[in-house]
Symmetry: C2
Subunit: 318 residues, 2 copies
């Protein structure tokens, strides 16, 4: 059985992603601007991370996550007046566009072919659906209220996460971390990853996975000690749901675990804090009307973040 190394070793042995410095500048500018404006900032992480099985990556281990929860939540945080860093798996669902696949959008369009005066319009019956989303999308972008950064591998994710924390630390308790990404627990150390594609002629390989260090520990204790940190736990076994959430809070000392079962995650979650558990569930009417549970999760988290800010030390002088 392989041990997990320390988080320091992980950063020492994995190079930052190629676009790291660009993203770090974007994060810095975004956090400084919103800190000056007195805004709250939420970091929403979303989608799954990959673990490459080869250096020239043809195969990888992936974590199941379309990005549904993170992308929907980001929209609701914007509505609550937060500036949003949306740190997501490349090609996973994004706020606003999450409800429209490419084909759905093309099907909404009518073309009036008139040579150089050709026009394309959205069909009247689709305007009702699209207009409110488009208005909110344009408002968020015009206000510079959302920053998109993306990752693919678990190593990319950790580099970006730490860089975001470095910028968010200055916001003290006004920073909220909403860590909804599905992060690999396991990885293959760089020196054990083959350079070329594994050849099936040499038989089926055995993959020895290693444990990923738990980044929540340095994050809570060192990187953003004053922030309000929310983590997520996805399980498939109901009996482990709350006990594992409690154990995580005990171990990492953060504020909330949003616990959910793979099978029912779109309809029910349990918010677990040190002293309480609160179930949030959609009823049949909600489900039939197409409501999503993220609206209620975000409302609950925003409200407990308010309490955290009220009771905490004031934000650093600006």
């Amino acid at each position: 059985m392989a041990n997990n190394g320390s988080w320091e070793e992980f950063f020492a042995s994995h190079l930052p992603p190629t676009d790291f410095e660009d993203n770090r500048s974007l994060l810095k500018e975004f956090c400084e601007r919103h800190a000056l404006q007195g805004n709250k900032i939420v970091l929403v992480t979303s989608g799954g991370t990959t673990v490459p099985l080869e250096h020239n990556t043809v195969r990888f281990v992936d974590n199941f996550s379309a990005g549904t929860r993170g992308s929907a939540s980001a929209e609701y945080f914007l509505e609550h007046g937060y500036a949003v860093i949306f740190m997501h798996r490349q090609k996973s669902l994004e706020p606003f566009t999450r409800l429209f696949s490419g084909q759905k959008l093309l099907d909404m369009l009518d073309i009036q072919e008139r040579g150089p005066n050709t026009t394309i319009t959205v069909k009247p019956d689709s305007v009702d659906v699209l207009a409110p989303i488009l208005v909110r999308y344009k408002a968020a972008h015009a206000a510079g209220a959302i920053l998109y950064v993306s990752f693919t591998t678990v190593s990319d994710y950790f580099w970006l996460l730490r860089a975001a924390c470095e910028c968010l630390a200055n916001l003290g308790p006004r920073a909220l971390l909403y860590l909804a990404a599905a992060v690999s627990d396991f990885y293959i150390p760089k020196d054990k990853v083959p350079t070329h594609k594994m050849q099936s002629e040499s038989g089926a390989p055995v993959i020895q996975l290693h444990l990923v260090p738990k980044m929540l520990a340095p994050l809570v204790n060192l990187w953003v000690p004053a922030a309000y940190v929310v983590s997520f736990k996805l399980e498939t076994d109901e009996s482990l749901l709350v006990p594992k959430a409690k154990a995580a809070l005990e171990k990492y000392k953060h504020k909330v675990v949003v616990a959910n079962l793979l099978q029912t995650r779109h309809n029910r979650v349990v918010l677990v804090t040190k002293n309480a558990t609160q179930e949030i569930a959609l009823n049949r009417g909600d489900i039939l009307s197409g409501a999503d549970i993220e609206m209620a999760i975000v409302a609950a988290i925003v409200s407990s973040h308010e309490e955290h800010m009220g009771g905490a030390a004031p934000a650093p002088a600006r």
Copy 2:
């Protein structure tokens, strides 16, 4: 080292996907209609397959493929008059929409807010880009010339592939199979997959992979013996490229291997047949103008498919 089982064993031990009967009906209707109209049909497979590591799937092994080659090729086959079965990994790139992410499409839109008379139009400078694609998209859909079916796991893929072959067999040499999907070579047999999410507390797991049976063998020999079959080989090591393609043709007796290197796959491929190798490459000008190599690959395949049909037995009487 684990052996690969036979393809019969694979089907006997993996249940069909839940929407299998619906897809089989769609495939049957599509092939019968186009056979009656005397059309050629191409089956384009696209995107990567997954191998679940748990029954309640949280983690899986994935094959790298965005679906770029398959989705672009499908468009060119439509232009050459083929009916297209586009069998793709769920959420991978699709013909027509492949060039427009959701955000890109939203950014093309202007909204004129007038309450109940609100309209949304495509910005004039985006009309030039979007109009020709939208026209081709609408024409293909109006003509019923494209059928979309999707898979996620390698087992879904094989069930759909065999079902498509059963319908395509009736087209004889007029059927073209363009197998561009990145199919797993390895999998974990159903009885070795744990039911619940692997717990990191129990240490890092060792994953013993098994070889997937080579479906190309029964496909060429039994399922569609008269069809024109094109397979793809992605390698990372140049020295293996042509030898492995030749070996595959020798072994499976199909018509063409499109061989490409991961690093240069968007600019260069080698078409390997029993008696010849033909390199197709984009030059600097092509690359700068944003041309894609799939146009040339499809043109070459269409032309050799014509020869195959000319020299082959006539299509079954209709």
